[in-house]
C-alpha cells in the first residue's frame, strides 16, 4: 500500500453521471493489483473534504501504464472529481484491501453479478478470469438505460445479461430475476453492488460457493479507524471492510 500522486490521463462521461477516469501509474505497481482491490482518492487539496473516496479498480493496462476506475456522481466529492482535467495530479492510496482470491480457486466457469457502481470491479475480474482460461458469465443491473456502461466490454469476454429496474433496456427488474429465469452454469459466483442486491444474490445462490464485495463509509481506508466494520457470520467478531475485505467469502460475513 502506498500514497501516490499521479497524473490524470483522461476522464470521460461514459453513462449518465458515470465517469471513467484513467490514471497513469507505473507498471511495477500495476502488476501487483488484484481484481476487487480499491484505491482511496483524495478529493482535492484544502480542508473542505477531510475524507478520501474509496473507488474500485475497474481495469488495468500494463502496456499503457494505465489504471482505470469508473465512478458515479453521488454527492459533493464525486462531483468535484468530475472536474479533473488531463494532466492534473491526483492523490491516491493504492492498492487497498483484499481482492477476489482467484489464484487459489479451482474453477471452470464463473458467474459475475454486479449492480450499479458494483459493476466496475467485475470488469477487471472478468478480464483476469478469462486470461486464466476460465469461462465468465456476467449479469449486471442498472436503474435505467442511460446508466448502462461496459455492456460491450463484458460481451467481449463472455455471455452478458443486463437488467434495468425500469425495463428501459434488457430484462426488467433485478439481477436476481436473471438468476431465476436463465439456466446459468457456473462453479463460483462473484458479486459486487449495493447491500440489498448482495443480500438477495447471497440468498438466491446460497447453494453455491461465492465471494461478495462490500461497501461501507470509510475513514482511513487502511484499517486504523474502525469505521468500516461488518459482523462475522457468527456475530461474535467484526471484520474491517477496508483491510479484511472488501471481498469476503459469502459465508464469512453477516449481511
Amino acid at each position: 500500500m502506498r500514497q501516490l500522486i499521479v497524473p490524470v490521463l483522461e476522464i470521460e462521461e461514459i453513462a449518465k453521471a458515470t465517469y471513467q477516469l484513467d490514471l497513469e501509474i507505473e507498471k511495477s505497481l500495476l502488476a501487483q493489483i488484484k481484481p476487487g482491490q480499491f484505491i482511496h482518492i483524495r478529493v482535492n487539496q484544502g480542508s473542505e473534504f477531510m475524507l478520501r473516496r474509496p473507488i474500485s479498480v475497474a481495469d488495468i493496462d500494463l502496456a499503457l501504464n494505465k489504471l482505470t476506475v469508473i465512478f458515479k456522481v453521488f454527492g459533493k466529492g464525486t462531483d468535484v472529481l468530475t472536474h479533473l482535467k488531463t494532466g492534473e495530479l491526483i492523490d491516491l492510496l493504492i492498492p487497498l484491501g483484499n481482492g477476489y482470491p482467484i489464484e487459489s480457486i479451482e474453477m471452470e466457469h464463473a458467474l459475475l453479478v454486479g449492480g450499479g457502481v458494483g459493476v466496475p470491479p467485475l470488469y477487471y475480474l472478468a478480464k483476469s478470469l478469462v486470461e486464466k482460461g476460465i469461462k465468465v458469465t456476467t449479469v449486471i443491473g442498472f436503474q435505467t438505460k442511460d446508466e448502462i456502461f461496459y455492456e460491450q466490454e463484458f460481451a467481449a469476454l463472455g455471455e452478458v445479461f443486463v437488467t434495468t429496474d425500469d425495463g428501459s433496456y434488457g430484462t426488467k427488474g433485478y439481477v436476481t430475476d436473471v438468476l431465476q429465469h436463465e439456466e446459468l452454469n457456473f462453479d463460483y459466483y462473484f458479486s459486487c453492488g449495493p447491500a440489498p442486491m448482495l443480500k438477495a444474490v447471497k440468498k438466491y445462490l446460497h447453494y453455491f460457493p461465492g465471494y461478495i464485495s462490500l461497501e461501507e463509509r470509510m475513514g482511513c481506508g487502511i484499517g486504523a479507524c474502525y469505521a468500516c466494520v461488518v459482523k462475522s457470520a457468527d456475530g461474535k467478531d467484526q471484520k474491517k471492510i477496508c483491510t479484511d475485505g472488501p471481498v469476503f467469502n459469502a459465508t464469512e460475513v453477516m449481511i
Binding site: 500500500m1 477531510m50 475513514g219 482511513c220 466494520v229 459482523k231
Partner: protein
C-alpha cells in the same frame, strides 16, 4: 532546531503525536513511515472488556470535518497489552494509553491493568464517555465527577495521567481546574464536539448511533479558544488537539498554550501528515521568530 518537549512522563523528541482513535495501535501507519519519528503515539481507547462498538455507518463527512461514532470498539485492555503493544514497543516512541469506561470502577480497572506492562509512558483519561451509572451524562461534563474519576485513576496508575476534556460544556475552565485539583498531571484538549448529519434519502440521522463526534479543521477555533482559556487558569501542561493540518496550526496551538499537539482526522486525508508536520515545523517556527518549540509555548498570551 530543538523540537523536544519535556512533559510529565514524556520526553518528546518533537511535539507531534497521532490522536487516540485515529491511529489504532500504529501498525497501519507504520507501512507509511517509521513510527520512531513521532513525538509519541496515543493508542485507541482501551476498555476493560472487548467492545464491538456501534452499528455502521460510523462516519460521515462534514464541511472541513467529519463525524464519527465508532463507539469504543477495542479488544479490551488485556488483549491490547498482549496483542497490540508488543508491535508498537519495537519503536523508539513513548506510548500513551487512552482509557475509557462506563463506570469509575471500569476506568480504575483499565488503569490498573496497564500497570503490568512497562510499555506505557502515560495514561490519557478519556472522560467524554457516557457515565452509564449516572444516567448517561458524560463524566467530563460535571466538575465533581470529572475530579472523582481523575483521582481514582491517578491512584490506580503508576504513570502520569493526562485528562482529555470534552468541549461540550458551558465552562471548560471549571472542569480543567477541577481535574487539576484532583491530581491530573496534564490535560489533553479537545475531544470532539457532538454533532449530527441527517440523510435526506432515508430521512434518518446518517450515523447509526444518530449523534457523533465532530472533528477536523471545522473545530479548530473552538479548540484554540479552550486551550487559550484553560492555559490561563491551570499550571499543568496542555496537549492541544482539534483540526491540525499544517505546521502553522501546530504553532497556533503552541501560542495558545499547548506544550504538544495531537493530530487526528488529518491522518485520514493524508497518512503522511505527522512526519510532514515534524519536517515542516522547524522552518515554520523560524519564520515566526522562534528558536525552539518550548520557546513558543504560551506566547500568544503576551498582552496579559
Amino acid at each position: 532546531m530543538n523540537l523536544s518537549v519535556k512533559l510529565p512522563g514524556l520526553n518528546l523528541k518533537n511535539p507531534i503525536m497521532p490522536a487516540s482513535g485515529c491511529f489504532s495501535f500504529g501498525k497501519e501507519y507504520s507501512q507509511f513511515y517509521d513510527l520512531s519519528e513521532l513525538g509519541a503515539v496515543v493508542i485507541k481507547a482501551a476498555t476493560l472488556n472487548e467492545r464491538l462498538g456501534n452499528p455502521t455507518p460510523r462516519v460521515a463527512e462534514t464541511d472541513s470535518g467529519m463525524l464519527n461514532a465508532i463507539g469504543l470498539q477495542n479488544p479490551g485492555v488485556e488483549m491490547i497489552i498482549d496483542q497490540e503493544l508488543p508491535y508498537l514497543k519495537k519503536y523508539d516512541v513513548p506510548i500513551i494509553a487512552n482509557i475509557a469506561g462506563s463506570s469509575i470502577e471500569e476506568y480504575e480497572q483499565v488503569a490498573r491493568a496497564f500497570q503490568r506492562t512497562d510499555g506505557i509512558a502515560a495514561v490519557e483519561l478519556n472522560i467524554s464517555c457516557p457515565n452509564v451509572k449516572e444516567g448517561g451524562l458524560q463524566f467530563g461534563t460535571n466538575p465533581d465527577v470529572a475530579a472523582e474519576v481523575t483521582r481514582r485513576v491517578k491512584a490506580a496508575s503508576n504513570v502520569p495521567v493526562y485528562v482529555k476534556l470534552t468541549p461540550n460544556v458551558t465552562n471548560v475552565v471549571e472542569i480543567a481546574q477541577a481535574v487539576e485539583e484532583a491530581g491530573a498531571d496534564g490535560l489533553t484538549m479537545i475531544n470532539s464536539l457532538t454533532g449530527m448529519q441527517i440523510n435526506l434519502q432515508s430521512r434518518r440521522p446518517l450515523l447509526a448511533n444518530k449523534v457523533g463526534g465532530l472533528t477536523g479543521p471545522a473545530i479548530k477555533p473552538v479548540a484554540i479558544r479552550m486551550v487559550y482559556q484553560v492555559y490561563q487558569a491551570v499550571k499543568i501542561p496542555i496537549i492541544g488537539v482539534g483540526g491540525i493540518m499544517t505546521a502553522e496550526d501546530v504553532l497556533e496551538f503552541l501560542l495558545a498554550g499547548a506544550s504538544a499537539v495531537q493530530v487526528g482526522t488529518a491522518n485520514f486525508q493524508n497518512p503522511m501528515i505527522c512526519p510532514e508536520l515534524i519536517e515542516q515545523l522547524p522552518a515554520c517556527l523560524a519564520k515566526y521568530g522562534f528558536r525552539s518549540v518550548e520557546e513558543a509555548i504560551g506566547k500568544g498570551h503576551q498582552s496579559e
